[in-house]
Symmetry: C2
Subunit: 571 residues, 2 copies
């Protein structure tokens, strides 16, 4: 690290008090759960420990917990000075960098609601979110100011330098000045643990994005669960590959602090930088999701720099089950995959279930093990149950009935409890529909295995009705992925005269093997069909396979099956 001196406003005064003002009706034996508590505790216990490293930029910065806590406090005061009141929305548009890390603590310290916006959206989509969230201020990274060019909402630009002349740093300095050194005791503790913490917008492939509100209580409990499930502690180092704007970084902005871990932010998914950190920065944990990250995973393990790092690394994977190929590649480089499942939006604060490995699996073949690891598993540490229930066909009051635990009957995953969103923002109808029967409806179709393991079959619209049988495009994709030459695959229904529908697979070849099949795609397609026949029932075998250079995706990396269906419709 080059020498870096934080701005004068970032330096805490001697004997800084690290306590918020109690809310007026605080009780001796109750404190509202709030993830803001973590940074205050970390700054008190390990003030000199490195909290945040942002290194792969022209002007690197590094903050200790004491300095970072001061910056977060400055941000809270700056927001209050800018007119932000409890419950207001403060948007942030940034890649992984200190600005967005600060926002996850500083905005809630001002008792406002963090509203992260996906940097990959189009200006019109961003405009919709700004309008719908009615946000009062936007914190924006210099690279993304074009996304808010026309807005009337005040913006604060960060040049991501951490140096005094940076407008964001000027904003923080002003916050410090405005505080009149009242410090943390000048900021009031939010009395209601069910107050909103984050407003994230879904990136649905159809319709307008919906705003998901999560609470302080839920964020606290989910963050603690993530730190526990990841067995994180003060010797952990977390690398930000997952965008922090994605479902509030699955609560890792707080989980890392709860565990006293060091965080490293990367503006982009750059394999060379990633491997540099794996090999030289002692990285122990990273999250990866969804599809784009699976590609990233493959990118990571295939990078020429890839070799076993000196320390063990845990990769927390969601969005798509890790394939046998990926598991093998990860394990070869000393990376342990942990498969978790949650809504790709924050409806469940990131992970809601985890695939809990059983020691007996060690004796299984890689393929058998991958099949078990592909299941979504059981409820996460602080989550209430995940159930699989019969569809209620839109009847909001119909009681929910569990499908039998037979590993066959397909139903919908519903979730409940502290790790479920508060509501859809300004959309009571959508909220009521999502909470029909008293549980949150995920829209994911799954079976329940006899041991209580949830295993996703598909999103409802992705089921293929082939010869009267329900074929899961996800199950087919999983089996096709087990072919070592397949990098990515997506399966959709294609009309069939005799069977009604039949699966069609779109396949991207693995770069290491693509040359081998150059000009011989037909042959590969035949080989992949044979591969499928050994593994799938007849009705689920793809009738058609097509090798393509890439798959159509949304800005968050979800595969756009809609586009594939359009292609199929023209065939």
């Amino acid at each position: 690290m080059p020498t870096f001196v934080p701005t004068p406003a970032s330096i805490p005064p001697p004997n800084a008090q690290l306590r918020l003002k109690d809310s007026p009706h605080s009780l001796p034996n109750y404190h509202p759960l709030n993830p803001l508590a973590f940074i205050l505790r970390a700054a008190q216990i390990y003030p000199e420990k490195v909290a945040l490293i942002h290194q792969d930029v022209e002007q690197p910065v590094v903050y200790t917990f004491a300095v970072w806590a001061q910056r977060i406090q400055n941000l809270a005061y700056a927001l209050i000075n800018a007119g932000i009141r409890p419950g207001d929305r403060v948007a942030v548009i940034a890649p992984n960098c200190p600005l967005i890390a600060d926002a996850h603590h500083g905005v809630i310290a001002a008792r406002a609601i963090v509203t992260p916006i996906n940097t990959r959206l189009k200006p019109s989509e961003v405009a919709y979110i700004i309008e719908h969230s009615q946000c009062s201020l936007i914190l924006v990274d210099h690279e993304y100011t074009h996304l808010v060019a026309g807005t009337k909402v005040p913006i604060i630009v960060s040049k991501d330098t951490g140096r005094q002349a940076d407008p964001y740093e000027e904003f923080l300095t002003m916050g410090r000045k405005f505080s009149q050194e009242k410090g943390w005791p000048g900021l009031e503790q939010e009395a209601d643990e069910n107050a909103p913490a984050v407003l994230c917008y879904t990136s649905g492939t159809t319709g307008r994005p919906k705003g998901v509100i999560t609470t302080l209580r839920g964020s606290y409990l989910a963050a603690v669960a993530n730190a526990f499930e990841g067995q994180m502690n003060r010797t952990s180092t977390y690398l930000w590959i997952l965008p922090m704007f994605h479902a509030a970084g699955w609560t890792f902005p707080w989980a890392n602090v709860f565990a006293f871990a060091t965080q490293i932010t990367l503006r982009t998914v750059n394999y060379s930088q990633i491997w540099n950190h794996f090999l030289k920065s002692g990285v122990t944990h990273y999250c990866a999701a969804p599809t784009v990250q699976v590609t990233a995973q493959i990118g990571i393990v295939n990078d020429p720099q890839a070799k076993r790092p000196p320390q063990p690394i845990t990769a927390i994977i969601a969005g798509a089950a890790p394939t046998a190929h990926l598991i093998a590649e990860l394990e070869k480089t000393g990376i342990t995959p942990v498969h978790v499942y949650g809504l790709t939006e924050v409806n469940t604060y990131g992970p809601f279930t985890r695939n809990y490995e059983d020691p007996s699996w060690a004796a299984l073949s890689l393929e058998q093990r991958a099949r078990l690891m592909a299941r979504q598993g059981h409820a996460f540490a602080t989550a209430d149950d995940a159930r699989v229930v019969y569809p209620t066909d839109g009847d909001l009051n119909a009681p929910l009935k569990d499908v039998p635990r037979d590993g066959k009957t397909v139903g919908e995953i519903v979730t409940k409890g502290n790790i479920v969103m508060k509501e859809y923002f300004r959309d009571p109808d959508a909220t009521a529909k999502a909470f029909a029967g008293g549980s949150f409806h995920t829209g994911d179709l799954a079976v329940m295995h006899p041991n209580g393991t949830v295993a996703i079959m598909d999103r409802s619209k992705d089921i293929i009705i082939s010869g009267g049988e329900n074929a899961s495009s996800l199950a087919i994709e999983q089996e096709l992925s087990s072919h070592p030459h397949v990098l990515e695959v997506s399966v959709v229904a294609r009309p069939h005269v005799r069977w009604g529908e039949r699966p069609m697979a779109f396949v991207v070849l693995h770069p290491q093997h693509a040359d081998k099949w150059k000009g011989r795609h037909r042959l590969f397609e035949k080989e992949l069909k044979e591969h499928a026949k050994d593994r799938l029932p007849g009705f689920a075998c793809p009738e058609w396979v097509e090798v393509v250079p890439e798959l159509p995706k949304t800005s968050t990396g979800k595969i756009l099956k809609l586009e594939l269906r359009k292609i199929v419709a023209k065939l």
Copy 2:
């Protein structure tokens, strides 16, 4: 382990549902925090994993999570069948064994309040607790039936066999029958997370014991914190050396299950059994407190079987700070001491603060390190702050004012938040007094160091006013303990013509060195005074030292300074 077959009533039915009935007004995005959730989750995720081992008895038993969960369910139904209603108290009098482990889950499954009673009390003391708690039923181990000989409250005796003819097993079997196989869904979830979980009685050296009520929410959060701070997981094995009746085992009855750890129960502190488990059962964690356990610690490390176990072991130590001697002995055998502080009663659910070690300490001498490790440290993972405030002299409404962070000014430790008891049972006056100024008053005197570390000086009555200076008997005891020949030491004030008071030390010699000083106690007393002079200010040096064969203690192993003061009064 010899072959053991659980009773037929302990075997869960196929496809057992591991979900309680939702409370009538349950919400999709909130579930009340309740540590009962942990056993249901463990039985679902790792049903075949060993949960509980009780081996060092004539008739050993071992239970998997699936079987244990069924037994807990049976207990809940048996209690309901016996007329127990939500909020009723169910007492349990037992050493560490399955009965008391079951009770921590089964009683709260019946929505009743677990009331553990110290097995070392006299029958009259037990009678007082039975009367004061108004308990409706007593679960009692066969070895302790004499403690409840005269009671009119119904009792269920456990012979600690796990075999069908055991009256406790008959009780469970009856519970199973009464359930009519309605299983867990036949038991309702407690809707109020602030409902009482445990009623524990203090063992104050003066006056009647007080009943401390803790909540489900507090127990849940404290248990999660203990599992996290101990970095426990499914490969952990916890050995019960701390009595489970002591402050609800510091919430470890639930923390272990949350982490999917295996628990081993020992009826007595038997070093040979302890070492057998350290060396052969893969023990990774144990708790030890208070003074009697420090002696036990010394007993553990001095046992002839002591040698480095194949796995690392974490010893969670409270009640008294680990001495340099103990730290050295523990580390020599590969045991890592973690120093925590909490009220010896459940006022704070076990640990409330932890001594967070700093990597820089590795470079210090053992004595310097021990001095830092002796401090009580900072707030525990899910605890709110611990503060040190000026005494308010009994004024219940006086605002609390923090002492300066100078490491010198003595004040009282006050605690706040989720890990503080709900109330003193049937004693609103004592509750109001304990919560004066909106925080819980611990009665422990301490200083606050500049880095926010709390360090106990003494209980208020244990301060010695020597020449107008406040001398902490605890600080003196710590320095005297650093002499390698000292096993235990207790310091009290003795009147002095010139100085008002002067410290007098009562010392028990270490068995390994006792012979050396036989008949030469005067010489040792002189040597110890010299040792003190190098380490303590003049006013804190003991004017008198007396070698004694043992120190007077309460049934829970607290040193009775009152008795020492009586001796001093006669001198």
